[in-house]
């Protein structure tokens, strides 16, 4: 599964994207967030409880209870500021 980071989260994590293989008990976006925190201090900071960020599963905005089984791509990003 590909995980992507955008804007300041990309800088804090240190990579724009990475391929990960989470264990079977990581079922939702929320589970993935907790699991990713363990990968590095950058991950822990970017994905910390206090940080305001959203997620997308296969390029559709997703809340943290959305399952990630079968997903090709999960993305994390700060609130949008376009337009």
């Amino acid at each position: 599964m590909k995980v992507r980071y955008f804007a300041w989260m990309k800088r804090t994590v240190g990579v724009a994207e990475e391929d990960v293989t989470p264990p079977a008990e990581v079922r939702t976006v929320g589970d993935l967030v907790v699991w990713l925190r363990g990968r590095s201090t950058g991950h822990a900071e970017a994905l910390s409880e206090g940080a305001a960020f959203g997620a997308a599963v296969d390029q559709r905005t997703a809340t943290f209870d959305v399952p990630i089984g079968g997903a090709r791509e999960v993305a994390f990003f700060p609130p949008f500021t376009g337009g």
């Binding site: 390029q59 993305a75 990003f77 700060p78 609130p79 500021t81 376009g82 337009g83």
Partner: protein
């Protein structure tokens, strides 16, 4: 009906001419052009001018999000033509960022749908602004006002 995300500038006159060409059912065309505004931010003791910004986006998801917003506008109003062009990359003060154009038989629908699209793309399309100040780079936070503007349209949904 079209959505484009691109680094290069767009020609407003040419875009509008193409959008309405041959369609005699359009009575009102409402257009919004978003521009990079020269701004000043106060950080600590000094006041910084923002000279430029970089718009990062999520290729693939951006186009999809804009198409969904456009489809939603077409469900809500009788539209003859819609166009969204959003730039990404580095932009300086005075540069165009986004073009939203809506043609309808009726001017009221054209105005409402255009404002709806602009409000929604600010909160639903995956763009992030990185501002360049003399003191360094700074990611722009989301504006509460933008969420409130987009939320108006939620309440009007039946």
């Amino acid at each position: 009906m079209a959505v484009r995300v691109q680094e290069e500038d767009f020609d407003v006159g040419a875009e509008l001419a193409r959008l309405t060409a041959g369609n005699k059912r359009i009575g009102g065309l409402t257009v919004f052009v978003g521009l990079v505004r020269e701004m000043h931010v106060r950080e600590g003791l000094h006041r910084d001018r923002i000279d430029a910004l970089t718009l990062e986006h999520y290729p693939g998801m951006t186009e999809r999000a804009l198409e969904e917003i456009e489809a939603e506008a077409k469900r809500r109003w009788p539209l003859e033509a819609t166009l969204i062009v959003h730039r990404h990359g580095r932009l300086a003060a005075g540069d165009r960022i986004v073009l939203v154009a809506v043609g309808s038989p009726h001017r009221g629908a054209a105005f409402q749908a255009c404002e709806f699209l602009v409000d929604w793309l600010k909160t639903k399309a995956p763009f992030w602004k990185l501002e360049e100040t003399p003191g360094g780079e700074k990611w722009v936070g989301a504006h509460d006002g933008d969420d409130a503007a987009a939320a108006r349209w939620e309440q009007e949904r039946r």
